[in-house]
Symmetry: C2
Subunit: 327 residues, 2 copies
DNA sequence: ACATGAAGTGTAATCGTTTACAATATAGTG
DNA sequence: CACTATATTGTAAACGATTACACTTCATGT
């Protein structure tokens, strides 16, 4: 628990010199440097980040806000963020909002209190107005989800195109009765993916039936199951399902399995996200891969540049359709 | 970005009084309090955690070290930690070690640099000696994994008993040829669960065959698949599998599905951990539930008490066998 | 030998809080 | 009303670093 003063005394120099040895590496003779180094060694001194942060008025901490830590979609993104952040000398604080505005506000207070230098928001349910407001004062970027008419820089994929290609893939396999398993339309990505679905259906002159569009308000496994129950209770049953999330798709798959519907022979299923579990199911899930690691590392890079005061542009990354056994 | 000085000036009081309004709530008249409150309001002042931390020489940050963020086993634990931590005024930094000692050391440096007040370690591959060393100086607790001959307080379950009960469950169902799908024996929990397995087999006079004990060095989905390939290539094939992790069990299940082996009719499978995906498979997995949320919140409570200087005792929690479709 | 300038080092202010201690105001007592 | 005892408030010193600025050296050219 030595301080810079003790090191200075032991080395017979001033604190300024010790600080210079610690940071600059310029403008200090080899001789004093070794004296200081030895003193540091002897006392096994480590500078206090607390003191340094106060003086530099920065914390080198990044807030990463996600709705739920158990959603595997975010795992790879977080990996990307963390690797880049650590490389640049930042650490991350993972904040689980549970889509709860109160909790959200607690985390926002961390940046107002200077405990964080910037925010990467990935919560689609975040209070958009509040976020815009904060973004005027503090560095904020959005990852994956973003606000259409906001000004916050973001990184995302072309959701509409990705959905379009996924549905086209089903159509090319001869599918005609394709259901959409969507999440709540209040989310931008949900609307965009629905757009892509409709575009593909129209392009190939297939009917868009309201009964085949199922909107679930939660991205839960059970919602996927429920969707299949509803869809398959209809007179005119779909023979393929495009789900906007792997979790929903896995729920749908489970329900098909339970009902003895063979996948892909009786029902073909496409998911979205390529979470790690999507190839552990039987059959493995066809899905749209988002470049999650890259999304993470790019958003980390963006927020760090924004903290430094550079101005940054939004980025749209490429996706990829991963064809596996479920289609 | 107002400071306490500006608030003091605006309210016509000293900084000490402002600070008292902020913290104590005692020993300041109603009149001055309202003056100060109004000034705070007007400037919309928020105290800087940086300054406060330096003065109090604490950061109110907890380090939570896990090998991999994508392992769903940790999700619930982290939820438990976070809820308790936030309630006590702490925030957590999630640190993914990737079981990489270098990375581990980076995170250890955060506590040496006073950027964290304590560590909750959940990494079974952590360098035990290093951890013991640090535990002399800094508050550290272990969650789930721990060191038998160490002195670091920990929270865990009775792995041996849990494994024993899982295997006994299989035996009671009439199973006689039970394979053990273990992870690397360097982990304490692996050795303990193997103990439980062997104890159950012995108690019911069933032979323990070396060929039926498969040790995988990674807790990966693919290891589970590989295990089934190996086990089922033998002349004397097991008819049940006890896996020490759900991920391994899900891998095994997938391989059984591929090979047309019916679960549970041809092969019964038991997993361990009750991760959320364990009931999304077809059939849903019988598994041993660890009280993960509770483990998290208890370890958070422990580390906070330890930071305060209280001394804390290790805790062993109850587990539960969850019987589902795979047995 | 001396002025010059560069290079290296030291002094002290600063970041934004908290808090021991001193100072002052207020209430209570005879 | 004078005098304590007590309740509030203010002053200034920490906490542990960084850094502008001032000061010392010391090699160089004359």
């Amino acid at each position: 628990m030595a301080t810079i003063h003790e090191v200075a005394r032991k080395a017979g120099v001033s604190v300024a010199t010790v600080s210079r040895v610690l940071n600059d590496r310029l403008k200090v003779t080899e001789k004093t440097r070794t004296k200081v180094d030895r003193a540091i060694e002897d006392l096994n001194y480590e500078p206090s980040v607390l003191g340094r942060n106060l003086r530099n008025s920065e914390s080198r901490l990044l807030l990463v806000m996600i709705p739920s830590i158990s959603n595997p979609f975010y795992s790879q993104i977080i990996n990307g963020i963390e690797d880049t952040a650590v490389r640049e000398g930042y650490n991350i604080m993972l904040c689980e909002t549970d889509s709860n505005p109160e909790r959200e506000e607690i985390y926002f207070s961390l940046i107002r209190n200077r405990l964080a230098d910037g925010i990467i928001s990935m919560d689609p349910t975040v209070n958009k107005k509040r976020l815009q407001e904060l973004a005027c004062t503090y560095p904020i970027v959005q990852c994956s989800e973003y606000d259409e008419d906001g000004t916050i820089p973001h990184v995302t994929i072309d959701n509409e195109l990705a959905a379009y290609q996924a549905v086209r893939h089903l159509i090319k396999l001869g599918q005609k009765k394709i259901a959409l398993l969507n999440s709540d339309e209040k989310f931008l990505y949900a609307r965009e993916r629905q757009q892509g679905y409709e575009q593909a259906m129209q392009e190939f002159d297939l009917p868009i039936k309201k009964e085949w569009i199922y909107s679930s308000n939660a991205l839960e496994f059970h919602s996927g199951q429920q969707a299949v129950r509803t869809l398959m209770s209809q007179a005119d049953k779909p023979t393929a399902i495009f789900a906007v999330s792997d979790i929903l798709a896995i729920g749908a798959l489970k329900e098909c399995n339970i009902r003895g519907l063979r996948v892909p022979q009786d029902v073909a299923i496409v998911g979205f996200d390529k979470i790690s579990f999507s190839n552990m199911t039987h059959p493995a899930l066809t899905t749209v891969a988002q470049p999650m690691y890259q999304m993470g590392s790019i958003s980390a890079g963006m927020i760090i540049r924004k903290i430094r005061g550079d101005n940054v542009e939004s980025v749209i990354l490429d996706h990829e359709l991963i064809i596996r056994e479920s289609t």
